[in-house]
């Protein structure tokens, strides 16, 4: 068993313990506080999704908010239709739309909605990824293209007012109903639903990073050219992780729309997308668990500090990001790993290992 795996398993178990038992106990099972915390947990999912593509494969996706938004709109469309009953959603009437647009029709089905929340983001992400990675676009250009896509997509959503509710987004949603259970967001069970989603997403992320798939992605991050000469189809590896990351972001978006009870184009804004990058960087992009914790910590701080510094909060966030980039480029995770390594080195300094020349081979070589 690799030591990296065992550390991650321990870290995951601790994290799960804190989320499932610690947090509800500290918050005194207060439904309102827990609902705020489940908002952080849903954001943790989108942060760990970014860690998968950025931290593992080195693909900085600045359009993560677009796929997040798709998930939230998918959920909101279903709930809006439910709230409107037999009639058209109210905003359509205001925009002279008289029949339900074809795009909306399938969202009457819950099953379709839940699938669409994953599959549409994954499909869109995959489409962009196929074009980018087959053309061997890498590094900062990935960031630029995904950012451009995000801006274009947000504009599209705002401009198609009759279909999307425009700047106002989708408000006045009905509560979600799954298997007869009406989801009340101010309830302990809703908190556990979101926690379970986060833990499942993290399990998937940890599995991926510890599989050979994750190893090849790390190799690609370091040297895509070299990796090709080992026979790996770099484009298909990159495309798949991009799809998975987009699907998880969509999943997070669905939960987020539930928590906030509306969907808005601000979920697809550049500043939101950059905030995801900050969470991920603060926690440590090399570990999905650290990225999730980073999202929770920064949002907790935001929740507390923005009460005190209403205007200055974004400045504080910016300074925080600068400090992280300058002094701990690998985030909190990097600090912990370096500290652990330093401790280990001190312990084993006495028994230094000498380099052995490869005599094993020389004794059996074929002279000619």
């Amino acid at each position: 068993m690799n030591s990296r795996i065992s550390y991650d398993v321990i870290g995951f178990a601790l994290f799960a313990g804190v989320i499932l038992f610690g947090v509800p106990a500290i918050l005194g099972y207060d439904a309102f506080e827990l609902s705020t915390f489940s908002r952080y947990l849903s954001l943790a999912i989108v942060s760990m999704a970014l860690a998968l593509s950025w931290g593992t494969a080195g693909l900085l996706n600045l359009g993560q908010a677009a796929t997040f938004g798709m998930g939230s709109y998918a959920m909101a469309m279903h709930l809006k239709l439910k709230a409107s009953g037999e009639s058209l959603p109210d905003f359509m009437g205001w925009n002279n739309v008289d029949t339900l647009p074809w795009l909306w029709v399938p969202f009457q089905s819950l099953t379709f909605t839940l699938l669409a929340g994953f599959l549409i983001p994954a499909g869109v992400g995959g489409l962009i990824a196929v074009f980018m990675f087959r053309a061997r676009i890498a590094g900062v250009f990935v960031a630029i293209i995904t950012l451009a896509f995000l801006v274009a997509f947000q504009l599209l959503v705002i401009n198609q007012q009759g279909f999307t509710g425009g700047q106002n987004g989708l408000t006045g949603l009905a509560p979600l109903e799954i298997f007869g259970w009406v989801v009340d967001i101010y309830s302990v069970s809703f908190y556990y639903l979101v926690s379970a989603c986060l833990l499942v997403a993290l399990t998937l992320g940890l599995y991926l990073t510890h599989s050979k798939f994750g190893l090849v992605l790390r190799a690609i991050r370091e040297d895509p050219e070299r990796t090709r000469y080992f026979g790996y189809n770099v484009a298909s590896y990159e495309t798949l992780i991009f799809c998975i990351s987009a699907a998880l972001a969509g999943w997070a978006g669905m939960l987020y729309a539930l928590v906030l009870e509306f969907a808005s184009p601000t979920y697809m804004s550049v500043s939101f997308s950059l905030a995801i990058v900050i969470w991920c960087a603060v926690g440590g992009r090399e570990s999905v668990l650290a990225a999730a914790i980073g999202a929770i910590l920064v949002n907790l701080a935001e929740g507390r500090l923005s009460d005190v510094f209403v205007e200055g909060w974004h400045l504080i966030l910016g300074v925080m990001f600068l400090l992280v980039v300058m002094f701990m480029p690998r985030g909190i995770y990097g600090l912990i790993v370096d500290a652990g390594r330093a401790l280990k080195r001190q312990g084993s300094r006495a028994e230094t290992v000498e380099y052995n020349p490869p005599d094993a081979l020389l004794s059996q070589n074929r002279e000619s």
Partner: protein, 242 residues
């Protein structure tokens, strides 16, 4: 049939014909050395075979398959491995992780998704033994010394187990002892692998080469054993400029 057949291979960069009508065959299990002055087109020839550069004409047959238009990862899957001039190990990965990436007999996404990142199989242990890196197996490759990095790269080539290995200046920056050791490893490798080596170190070439091709200005100048090459007047002229 020869393992590799190169016919009328050429590539043009702007007005320059870097490789201009090369013809040669390489037999299975042979060590073929490419010599020539700077800019003769040796590295470019390797680039054309492994797919880093697209030819503008001619053909390359590997085990009877035309590969000159194939993407590089497909050529690697057929069994062509490449060592570059600059040491290119993955510095952030540990030694065993480097070997695991190099062991790429099954490079598909699906297989990678269903296997563990590092499998310490008997074969991995054996390779680590060969290059003497057993004690460093969990060290990040970036922390290795220059010599150890070279051995790791050779270990990765052994792990990759390509039928045809293309080497660009494998002994650059090595001490005399390390060069000797590398020569011995190459002789051992040639039992199961075919090697094409670009090298400047003549004593190394003398030890390992079964056959030598001398290139000049993108063309084949001479071909033969080391004795034939050393006696060749055209080669002397190209090198010494008389």
């Amino acid at each position: 049939m020869s393992q590799l057949q190169v016919k009328d291979l050429q590539v043009q960069f702007g007005g320059l014909r870097a490789v201009d009508g090369m013809n040669f065959d390489v037999e299975k299990g042979e060590i073929m050395c490419l010599l020539g002055p700077n800019g003769a087109g040796k590295s470019t020839t390797l680039d054309l075979i492994c797919g880093k550069t697209q030819p503008t004409g001619g053909s390359i047959l590997f085990q009877g398959t035309e590969i000159s238009r194939m993407l590089e990862f497909k050529r690697a899957r057929l069994g062509i491995g490449r060592k570059f001039q600059v040491p290119s190990v993955y510095k952030d990965l540990t030694v065993v992780e480097n070997l695991s990436v190099a062991r790429s007999a099954r490079p598909s996404v699906l297989h990678s998704l269903t296997s563990r990142a590092v499998r310490r199989s008997a074969r991995v242990k054996e390779i680590l033994d060969i290059v003497g890196l057993v004690n460093k197996q969990d060290e990040a490759a970036g922390n290795l010394s220059h010599g150890e990095t070279q051995w790791l790269e050779i270990a990765m080539l052994i792990a990759q187990d390509s039928r045809l290995i293309l080497m660009d200046e494998p002994t650059a920056g090595m001490t005399i002892q390390e060069t000797d050791r590398t020569a011995k490893i190459f002789r051992k490798l040639s039992a199961n692998h075919t090697l094409i080596v670009v090298e400047h170190d003549m004593s190394f070439v003398r030890t390992v080469a079964d056959r030598i091709i001398v290139m000049n200005q993108g063309k084949k100048l001479a071909e033969g054993s080391i004795q034939e090459i050393e006696a060749n007047e055209a080669v002397k002229t190209a090198y010494l400029g008389h």
